[in-house]
C-alpha cells in the first residue's frame, strides 16, 4: 500500500508533524485492514461461525464498501476539501479511535473464530425444550420424513407435542457434537447443535439424548457424530425423555457450517 503513497509538497501545517505522518493514510490503512478482515471471513467460510447466512451479504457488502472507502482515502491525497461545520463532536481523540480500530482489525486478521463447544453448551443450559425466552417458531412446517429432521427440527416438533412415546420407532438420522452431561448415567450422551437466529451472540444449544451400549467415554466431548437409529423413550435421571437408540454411529469431521437455524 505504501508504494502507492501519493507524494507532494507539504503544507506548513503538516511540517510540524513527523514527516511520514499523514492522517488520510492512517485512515486508509484502518479501512483497508477491516475490509481485508471481512474478505478473509468471507473467503475462508469462517463467516458461517459468526453469522446467520441470511445476513452474510451485509457483511460481504461491508467488506466491499470499506475497500472503496480505503481507495478513496488513498487517492484523495491533497485535493481534500475542507469542511468544519456540522457541529460534529467527538468522544474519543481521532488518533485513539484509529488505533483501537487498527488493533482490532489486526486481531481479526490473525484470529480464526472457533465454533462453540460443549463447555459453552453446558454453561448456556442445553435443553430439549425451547424455553419461553427463546424465539418462538413463526411457522410450522408440515411433517417431513422423520429421518430428515435435524436436531432443531426434532426439538421444535417436541415443543409442539412433547409426549416422547408418540415418536417411538421413528427413524432418525442426524449429526451433532457430543456433550457429556454430568448428571446423566455413563451410557448416555447428548448429541447437540447450536442454533442461531442472528449471529453467534445469540447462539443457544439444543440436544437429544443418545442411548449407548458402551460407556460414553468412547466418544469424546466436542467430537462430531453422525447418528442413525430410531427413537425410544428412556428415563434419564428420573425424567422421561425422547432418546435416540443408534444403529450406526460414525465420527465425522466438524462440518463447515456447524450451526442450525
Amino acid at each position: 500500500m505504501s508504494a502507492k503513497r501519493p507524494r507532494g509538497p507539504k503544507t506548513p501545517k503538516q511540517r510540524d508533524r513527523a514527516p511520514w505522518y499523514r492522517p488520510e493514510l492512517l485512515d486508509a490503512l484502518v479501512l483497508a485492514a477491516w475490509s481485508l478482515a471481512f474478505f478473509r471471513y468471507w473467503l475462508t467460510g469462517k463467516l458461517f461461525l459468526l453469522l446467520h447466512p441470511d445476513y452474510m451479504w451485509l457483511a460481504n457488502g461491508a467488506g466491499i464498501v470499506l475497500l472503496g472507502l480505503a481507495v478513496f482515502k488513498l487517492t484523495q491525497g491533497k485535493r481534500r476539501p475542507s469542511y468544519s461545520g456540522g457541529g460534529h463532536t467527538t468522544l474519543l481523540p481521532p488518533q485513539l479511535s484509529s488505533l483501537i480500530l487498527l488493533t482490532i482489525a489486526v486481531v481479526a486478521l490473525t484470529y480464526t473464530p472457533q465454533a462453540f463447544a460443549s463447555d459453552t453448551a453446558i454453561q448456556r443450559g442445553v435443553s430439549d425444550s425451547l424455553t419461553l425466552t427463546r424465539s418462538q417458531p413463526q411457522r410450522f412446517v408440515r411433517q417431513t420424513a422423520s429421518e430428515e429432521r435435524t436436531v432443531i427440527d426434532w426439538i421444535r416438533t417436541l415443543n409442539v407435542y412433547p409426549e416422547p412415546d408418540a415418536y417411538t420407532g421413528q427413524a432418525v438420522k442426524l449429526s451433532g457434537f457430543v456433550i457429556h452431561p454430568q448428571e446423566w448415567p455413563e451410557e448416555y450422551l447428548m448429541v447437540s447443535r447450536f442454533v442461531l437466529t442472528c449471529c453467534a451472540a445469540d447462539a443457544y444449544p439444543v440436544g437429544l439424548p443418545v442411548q449407548l451400549a458402551v460407556s460414553r467415554q468412547a466418544y469424546a466431548p466436542d467430537s462430531w457424530l453422525e447418528i442413525e437409529g430410531k427413537m425410544v423413550t428412556a428415563t434419564i435421571n428420573g425424567q422421561r425423555q425422547l432418546t435416540i437408540e443408534p444403529t450406526k454411529l460414525e465420527t465425522i469431521p466438524e462440518p463447515r457450517n456447524p450451526y442450525e437455524y
Binding site: L51, Q76, T133, Q136, A201
Partner: protein, 333 residues
Amino acid sequence: MEKFSNGLTLFFSLLVEAIPFLLIGVAFSSLLLFFVNERTLIKLLPKSPLLGALAGSLMGVFFPVCECGNVPVARRLIVQGAPTSVSVGFLLAAPTINPVVFWATWVAFRGQPEIVFLRVGFTLLIAVTIAWVFSHQRDMRPLLQPIVARQMPKPRSAEPASPLLRSGTFLMQSSGTTLKMDDPVTQEMIASGPAKPVSVKLQLVLDNMVQEMKELGAVLIMGSAIAAFVQVAVPRDWILALGQNFITSILAMMLLAAVVSICSTVDSFFALSFAATFTTGAQLAFLVFGPMIDLKNIGLLLTVFKPRAIFYIFVLAAQLCFILTLFINFYVS
C-alpha cells in the same frame, strides 16, 4: 483459553453483524448533512405543541441518524428556530424511529417481533410526552447553553435599535445591507451552500463517513468487548439472578445502556446477547432508554443544553421507560 476463544468469537460475531449497519447509518447521516436543508423542513412543521412533538419524533424517518448524529441535527433545528416540541421530540426519538434502526432491530429480534414494535411504540410515547412537557417552556433560552441561545432567532423587541450597534463580523452586500458572517445560518451556507458542485459534496460525504465510522467504530468495539466479556466471564447464575427479576433486570439494563453508550443502529445486537438471560422488559428498557440518554450522549447534549435541562430529560425518560417496561414484565410477557 476456551473461554477466551469463545469471547473473541462472540466479539467478532457482534462486530461483523454491526459494522454493515454502522456503515449504512454513517452514510445516511453524512448524506443528510450535505444534501438536506433543515430550514425548508421546519417551515412545513405543525405549530401546535402536541402535533409538533409528534412530527419531531417522527422526523427520524427522514433523518436516519443514530444518537451520535442526531444531537448536531437537533442543534441545527433549535438554532434555525424550530419549535421546542419539535427539536426535543426529534432529539429523543430520531435515534430509534428511523428505517435503519428498525431494520437492524428486526434482524436481531426476528424471533421476537413484539420487541421491535414495542421499541418503536414506547420511544414514540416517551419522546412525545417529554417534548410536550418541554413545549410549555415558552422561551427555551434559559435551558440552552449560552452559545446556542445567542444563535437562536431573537424576538423582535430584543433587536438593537441601530443596525450599526451589533457585534460580529459582517460582509457588505451590494444593496447596502450586511451579511453577518458568524451567524450559524451563514456558516451553514458557507460550509455546505448550493455553491458547491455535487462532486465536491460527494467527497465531503465520503470524508464525513470515514470520520464518523472511525469514531463510532471505536465505541462499537468497546461496547462489543463489554458484551462479550459479560457473556463469557460473569457466572451465569449471577446474570440469571439479576436478569430474571422483574425490577432489577430493568434497572440493570438501563444502567448498562447508559454506560455502554453503544450506537442505536447496532445496539439491538448488543441487547440480543442478553436475550436468553434477561426479561423482555429489561431488553426493551435497554433499547428504548439507551438511544435517549447515555454517557457518550451526555457529552454531546452538553453542547446544546444546560445541565439542568439534561437532568430533566434524563429523569423523565428514565421514569417513563421504567414504568412502561415494568408493565410489560408484569402483564404482557
